[in-house]
């Protein structure tokens, strides 16, 4: 008899218990989620790099040094940046060359490795030796790079980057490559 009474009580109270559980679920769902931990690498980024470079125009090699400055934003996985590029050098037989460019970059952090690409718009100037004038060229094209962080201190890193580009001109193209040591913060 007692067993039957207990069973009847359980059946009678089951809807109320279910209703209470549903309300608890709703309250849990309505409660705001705990804030996601902030990405410690997220923020402003500056990358300055310099190193030797080689370019070619109409089969004439241009050798010198490049200085590059990029400003942008990053997180732990990727970055996007824009910046300036300057070059000073000579052709193999001694014509003085200089270049100034605007760059747009994006890249991805894969552990200590950084890979990416972008495009650049440059003005190349080659000083004539037969007069005081110069040869001038505007060029635009894509670029790609792969780099490695040689050492890291939180967001800062000492970097080594291999960079290549293929710039389109009105009557040809300028392939280029550079090996750059830099500092990112």
């Amino acid at each position: 008899m007692r067993v039957i009474r207990t069973a009847l009580l359980a059946v009678a109270l089951a809807p109320a218990a279910a209703s209470a559980q549903t309300a608890a679920d709703w309250r849990a769902a309505a409660r705001p989620l705990p804030p996601r931990p902030r990405d410690p690498m997220r923020g402003f980024m500056v990358h300055i790099a310099l190193g030797p470079s080689i370019r070619s125009l109409h089969g004439v090699g241009i050798y010198g040094g490049d200085l590059r400055l990029d400003l942008g934003g990053r997180n732990s996985r990727w970055f996007i940046a824009g910046g300036l590029e300057a070059h000073f050098g000579r052709t193999g037989h001694g014509l003085e060359t200089s270049l100034l460019g605007l760059r747009f970059n994006f890249g991805f952090f894969l552990g200590p490795v950084v890979v990416g690409g972008g495009f650049e718009l440059v003005g190349l100037q080659i000083q004539r030796v037969t007069s005081d004038q110069s040869l001038d060229q505007v060029a635009l094209g894509p670029r790609a790079f792969v780099g490695v962080d040689l050492a890291r201190w939180e967001r800062r890193a000492l970097t080594l980057t291999l960079d290549a580009s293929a710039l389109l001109t009105g009557n040809g193209w300028i392939p280029s490559g550079a090996l750059l040591v830099g500092f990112r913060l």
Binding site: V60, H93, L121, G170, G172
Partner: protein, 109 residues
């Protein structure tokens, strides 16, 4: 009606690509000649490079004829100073510079 963003993109495209595609920039004949002249200037101390003439694609119609043809420029760039002096190219280039347009034997072939 075009959207402002599309018009702005088109304007940026014209401003960026225009100079690249319209301005032919540096011609091969100009650069090869100047590079060959730089080589001669370093190999021939008595040769004044300002006395030499190279093509100028932006010059007026009456531009003087260049001291070297594009073939001679390519040939000269493949030589070193010893070969240039041994072939008497320094003297020949100086003679051409003194009397532009005069018929002389090829500088380099």
């Amino acid at each position: 009606m075009r959207r402002p963003a599309t018009a702005l993109l088109a304007l940026v495209g014209v401003l960026v690509m225009g100079p690249v595609l319209v301005d032919c920039g540096i011609e091969a004949s100009e650069l090869l000649c100047e590079d060959a002249a730089a080589l001669l200037a370093s190999c021939c101390p008595s040769l004044d490079p300002h006395a030499l003439t190279c093509p100028d694609s932006h010059a007026a119609c009456e531009a003087p004829s260049p001291t070297f043809s594009i073939e001679e420029s390519r040939c000269l760039r493949a030589l070193d100073c010893a070969a240039i002096r041994a072939r008497g190219i320094c003297e020949l280039a100086a003679a051409r510079a003194m009397s532009p347009g005069a018929a002389t034997r090829p500088l380099c072939e």
